[in-house]
């Protein structure tokens, strides 16, 4: 039943839909065939809303014993799939294909300090990575997380952020772009978090996920820290219609973001040279 074809999805049921903020909700799905899904942080799924269409979303948590899949999705006005998902009530059915893509290269992070840079909804894929590191904490060095958002209302996973702020095994630094009455923390673009930040350049890996405009500036900061480009990883977003390297949309110079990525080292990212 599970794998009838390249494009045929497995059926899943929406078990929970949580409002994160005015734009984003986190959806929890359960596959009806009960077959557990194994995946790496940073991999993505293609979600079908029957009658609306299919779109790619990154999984935002690690597989737990409950076998549930979680994805945080931003609603775009006029986006048929995201609007339909946001309207869907628990009990509704969706189609799921995946996991697709490479995910974060854990072997390039293990044994090293890890700097996680998340801008806006970029925290969703990064959350899965952070959970994976926390689940296997002694395998990694220092874990630092930079999380930037436009304003405090856009924060994802409020309770989790509070928990991480209190946990000694993770250093979380958050910033908002402009001053806001409800915010007493750091204010400034995410690049301002790099001021006075020191790393062991040879022993640090970095992961970056955020809006395309953020990459150029964050890359500059990471280079100022003298990090090795082989140990800087960026997750690219591209339009996709298939997830399996056939529809062509995500191709950049013969590299397919859906199967060769979405996570690329800075070295590879530079070869693709398309930002």
């Amino acid at each position: 039943m599970a794998h009838e074809g390249t494009y045929v999805p497995r059926t899943a049921q929406l078990v929970q839909s949580i409002e994160e903020n005015s734009l984003e909700r986190t959806f929890t799905f359960e596959l009806l065939d009960g077959e557990p899904l194994r995946y790496n942080p940073g991999q993505f799924m293609l979600v079908t809303v029957f009658g609306a269409g299919e779109a790619p979303f990154t999984l935002c948590s690690m597989p737990g014993s409950d076998g549930l899949l979680r994805m945080t999705v931003r609603r775009y006005p006029g986006g048929r799939v995201t609007e339909a998902l946001h309207e869907m009530q628990p009990g509704g059915h969706v189609g799921i294909r995946g996991p697709f893509g490479n995910g974060f290269p854990m072997e390039m992070l293990r044994g090293r300090d890890v700097l996680v840079v998340a801008g806006g909804i970029g925290m969703a894929p990064q959350r899965g990575l952070i959970e994976a590191i926390l689940n296997d904490r002694e395998q990694f060095g220092k874990l630092t997380v930079f999380y930037g958002m436009a304003n405090p209302e856009q924060m994802l996973y409020d309770d989790l952020m509070q928990e991480w702020l209190e946990r000694p095994e993770i250093d979380l630094f958050m910033t908002i772009d402009r001053p806001h009455p409800d915010w007493s923390g750091h204010v400034g673009l995410i690049t301002t978090l790099f001021e006075d930040f020191e790393v062991d350049a040879l022993m640090t890996s970095a992961t970056v996920v955020g809006p395309p405009v953020m990459y150029r500036f964050v890359i500059k900061e990471l280079e100022n820290l003298s990090l090795n480009p082989e140990y800087i990883f960026l997750s690219l977003e591209r339009r996709m219609s298939c997830g399996v390297g056939k529809c062509g949309h995500c191709a950049i110079k013969g590299t397919y973001v859906c199967i060769d990525g979405p996570v690329f080292s800075l070295t590879k990212y530079r070869q693709l040279d398309e930002e």
């Binding site: 009838e4 029957f50 609306a52 809006p211 977003e237 591209r238 056939k246 949309h249 199967i259």
Partner: protein, 385 residues
Amino acid sequence: MIAVEQQERAQDRAVFRLPAEKIREFIGALMTATEHFIAPTRSLHGDLVFAQVESADEVELEYENALISPVCFVLPQREAVFTYAMTEGQPPEVRPTADVESHIIFGIRPCDVAAIEYLDRFFLGGEFADDVYARRREAKTLVAMACINPQNDACWCTCSNAGPVAASGYDLQLTLMDEIYLVESASDRGDRLVEVAGGLLSEADPALTEERERRVEAAFETFERRGNIAQAMRWISGDQTPEGLWQELGAKCFSCGSCSLVCPVCSCFDTHEYAEDGVGARIRVWDSCHFPGYSLEASGFNPRENEPERMFHYAHHKLCADTFKKYGRPGCVGCGRCVQVCPAQIDLPRIAQTIRECGWACKDCKACPHAEVTVAGDRKGPGED
């Protein structure tokens, strides 16, 4: 190279001769061996199209290649990849698309055979095989009609390893040699069709094959030489093309997508949802990387917002060494359709030619990592290594 492969193949399978006056009888015999017989035929208005025919008399035997390639029977412009039925409160019932009926595609030209070979490697190889393509392809038998002479002055298959005679990829191939068709089989399916034709075919004298090879050699001189594609391929692969080149070509392009819609190798698709009264389907539809919306993301970000970036992407995909290494040939089969349709005259042969003329040259050909990129019809220009 083509001649060598054919000699090797000729040793494996017998070659037959068919008197030219028996060709319609032969077609009639083939028609009994399939559910649907697709052949070149004239539309009501005289245009050459590949379409289903019901009698051998409808088949056109002297024809320029159709503007819409018969590859569309393998990768149709629209097709369902799965269907579903929805009932309120119930999980939807999802069904893979059903098996497709058998087709013989008669009269397909060697360029289009090469395109299907390319698509087979693309869709069936790699990490994921496309089962929808696989089912449709499996039901097709290709009866090729070799060209020997160019069909029009846009043909340039000799410059892109695709013709004028197919070296592989067909089931049966016919070459008209004056009063006789040379008939070659390259597969078990081809062999079965030979059996179906029965007494119409007799074993061919090896001299006939030799004569055909001589004519193929001569054809390399009669086909339009539209530039040294291999050189353009090596240069674009080595990031050796100046930015200004793409600005210049992009500025001329209307982003109409005509080149990719008639290209038998172009296979990009978009997916659309169709659903009404509880019944739905996921439809895949041809797309073009020249369309501005091709890479537009939900967020509004578009990595290829401007035509120069799209022009580079299009040309790079067709010509890069990576394509050659993965699929065993250039991403162009020299059918010349883009030459016929491009309103701005920036078709692929002209793009290849412009790359060569841009005055850029790699420093060291001996160290070239893309040296393996060569095509049989290469003609070196003055001063080129």
